[in-house]
Amino acid sequence: MATDGTKSNGHKVEELDRVTIRFAGDSGDGMQLAGLQFTNTSAVFGNDVSTIPDFPAEIRAPAGSIPGVSAFQVSFSSYDIHTPGDSPDVLVAMNPAALKANIADLPKGGTLIVNKDEFTEGNLKKALYPTNPLEDGSLKSFRVIEVPITSMNVRALKDSGLNTKAIDRSKNAFALGLMLWLYERPLEPTIRWMTEKFGKNPEVRDANIATMKAGYNYGETAELFPVQFRVAPAHLAPGRYRNITGNEATALGFLAASKLAKTPLFYGSYPITPASDILQELARFKNFGVKTFQAEDEIAAMGSAIGAAFGGHLGLTGTSGPGLALKSEGLGLAVMVELPLVVAMIQRSGPSTGMPTKTDQADLLQCMFGRNGECPVAVVAPATPSECFDYAIEAFRIAVKHMTPVIFLSDGYLGTGAEPWRIPDIADLPEIEVKYATDRDTFKPYVRDPETLARPWAIPGTPGLEHRIGGLEKADITGNVSYDAENHNKMTHLRAEKVARIADDIPDLQVMGEPQGELLVLGWGGTYGAILTAVQRAQAKGLSVSAAQLRYLNPFPKNLGDVLSRFEKVLIPELNLGQLALIIRGQFLVDAEKLNKVSGRPFLIREIEEKIEAMVGSKVSV
């Protein structure tokens, strides 16, 4: 991971806007060409670029051997850059030897794209691998994307008229196409270049163009996620670390919640990018007693989680925006029956199907208001991939204690992005106390805890507590069906108040920087890294700017109003058209300024920096 133009010392905030890729393959694989073309395209695209080729030591090393590996590294950035990057963020390995020769340079958490077709017994032997690294778990700390490049290339070119050898030689173009897709670069410059270079040989030209497009399309069709930018925390606290993606951390967090609550976890879900990972992860945890249910649709998934919660388990469902739309009726039922459950909501770009592999933050208002009636649910939102672990636990802690559905609001960049995670000691994790009602003498389905207003969790199987719940309005205390006007008004307020009181049970909002001043930059979710970096840079320039990242979106931390009042101005950067801003302005009547971008991509630091300077810049020189 390259740093901000200076040496990587692990103590600086890492640069968001820069990526380094290394293409590695057999010398016959055309890696230099692929790398160069990627570089040219990036330069045309307006990036600053810096490259370093790495030719094989021996001119004629045997194909597939380690000495025969050829590599090309390119670093590109939206800032000035001065080096080709110390180590790659992404390694493309076209065969086992290329992997062996280069993997040591890939930092934990890096992305590894391998041509899995070449991991044959013969090639593994040539690369001196005793076991297949794709299968023996040794690549666990990387984000591995296995692509059958060789065979897909062959298929793409089966009607090309080229012979087998010539076809095989085109596979670099497939890899190039895939990388261009991952980094959202246009194909045209390379098509122009190929047209020129192979002009004499139209078959080869067409083949190269065709397989490059096949690689590009593969990325899109198979809903591969573009490689995201990321930031690591400024200081790594002492401890044991591993690399983790947000979705992995989410799954582990829910698993941990189940352990902490001593209550089995049930996950009902329907696959959808970018939430499917969570289903796939949790499905592995069978020996923890986790039950996963791939439902026929999101509505059924939601229903199944309600059923599990009714049964006394940790009921969980997960999805992305279109799926949440479908779950909204069921979520309303969960609010009415006041059962504890969690909805893991991993945002992607909308509206409608939108851009499934891109991310905005445009589902906050859907989470808050996307149901009929006054229908409050709690919402928590992690700010980094590793925080996904903590807030998954927190979501269930709140759900169970306050007897309410909770939305865990993440997004595709957090979910598929990775960062080092300090492995916690289970003993240090918060306890989750699960209490089922058992006392038949005092039990009433809708009697409330005086402090939290939570109703009792009375699960089937408990003698003497037989009762009926449902979606019709409930009478206070008894839970019987009621059409009474006063009761409805009261229950509406009770449901609202119950969620509002969660504020008593969550930490205050932390301000990064001075607790008061000219400008507060208020964010939520995955904009954390960009906001933090931009604010730190502005602070370094002497500007009176602080930052605060909301992890609790409903209810807000109790001190939020106070924090807001200590600053002259408030800026809310969001990857939407101002959704948090609407709520903050409406609730606190603060003239918060908005910084919005809805392009399916995270903020660049400089976008926030420029806005900060525009808002408080005039005072720099003071």
């Binding site: 670390y241 059923g307 009714f310 006394g312 089937p460 408990t462 037989e466 009762h467 069906v481």
Partner: protein, 343 residues
């Protein structure tokens, strides 16, 4: 999870123990009353503690039934009861779970869940009250309303061809498929009991009369005096005989059932014999599709085959994996893959 308290009910329970304190709110004369009565009567015979019985429903007149059962109950949202029941049963296999639904709730908005619940064979007892109308919303046609029917939403008659609930159930590979009648108390009770004992999804269609919005929908064959002649009650292993005088039967002519008059050389030996347990559902589908006036309407357990139920497979898989890999160690799981130390 499991409640440690001892099961109650040392004294055998009675019907009244299953009557909740909620007032029954159906129109006077509604067929739902009878279904409720049989359901309540059945409960003591099930041998299941009251606290282990759960009724889950969607929305509709029929779906109000759980309120009247003194068991655990969940009156959910329109069409989704099977999904909630699936979540509950998957996590709490020891519970006896009933799903109560209507022709609109179960086959219109909820058709897909029914389909998938049945193919998965979740151990639920699904009772679909078929009154061929939307009762609660005051009389629009349903997916089982007859073609051409005039209702509030089809003042000139429907143009929708109806579904046959049992055909849908068979198309979904249902393992237990049965039909009964609201007013045939004994038969209904019998079928409900059979369903309760079936492991896997039991699907029962109950012909039910909505005397306010679709009075007499089933009367032509359900009316007591004509019923023996216009319905065929199938029983496993028995030839298909019907009629007040038990003088008529169903004989197969190739793939086609035909009504024959017993006597004149035709004996019970010529008749089709009901086999509810055969995996091959061809004959079950034939029975499901026999309708008055061409044929007698078929009542009874049409299909009852064994297939492991979903929640059992789920629990077994967990047990298997745990046996193979050992119980999960969370701390070890945290450390999965490469780790490193920061000092």
């Amino acid at each position: 999870m499991t409640i440690e308290a001892p099961q109650e009910n040392i004294i055998p329970l009675q019907r009244k123990d299953f009557v909740s304190d909620q007032e029954v709110r159906w129109c006077p004369g509604c067929g739902d009353y009878s279904i409720l009565a049989q359901t309540q009567k059945l409960m003591p015979d099930l041998g299941v503690a009251r606290e282990n019985i759960v009724f889950i429903s969607g929305i509709g007149c029929s779906s109000r039934l759980p309120y009247y059962m003194n068991t655990y109950g969940f009156h959910s949202i329109h069409g989704r009861a099977p999904t909630i029941a699936t979540g509950l049963k998957s996590t709490r296999p020891e519970l006896q779970v009933f799903v109560i639904t209507g022709d609109g709730d179960g086959l219109s908005i909820g058709g897909n869940h029914l389909l998938h619940t049945m193919r998965r064979n979740v151990d639920l007892n699904i009772v679909l009250f078929n009154n061929r109308i939307y009762g609660l919303t005051k009389g629009q046609f349903s997916p089982t309303s007859e073609f051409g029917k005039r209702t509030k939403s089809s003042p000139y008659g429907t143009i929708d061809f109806p579904l046959n609930p049992l055909s849908v159930a068979l198309g979904a590979e249902g393992t237990f498929v049965a039909r009964s009648l609201d007013i045939d108390q004994q038969h209904l009770m019998h079928v409900l009991e059979r369903a309760a004992h079936h492991k896997g999804t039991a699907f029962i269609e109950v012909y039910q009369n909505c005397n306010v919005f679709n009075d007499g929908a089933h009367m032509e064959f359900a009316e007591k005096s004509v019923r023996p002649d216009r319905t065929l009650v199938v029983e496993h292993g028995k030839p298909m005989v019907f009629g007040k005088e038990r003088d008529k039967g169903i004989r197969m002519n190739g793939l086609k059932p035909e009504i024959v008059q017993l006597g004149n050389g035709i004996t019970e030996a010529d008749l089709a014999v009901h086999d509810e347990t055969t995996e091959d559902q061809t004959m079950h589908a034939i029975l499901a599709r026999m309708h008055w006036p061409e044929y007698p309407e078929v009542l009874g357990v049409i299909r009852a085959v064994q297939r492991p139920s979903y929640e059992v497979l789920m629990a077994e898989q967990i047990a298997d994996v745990t046996a193979k890999m050992g119980e999960g160690d969370l701390q070890a799981m945290f450390q999965e893959g490469d780790t490193w130390e920061v000092k």
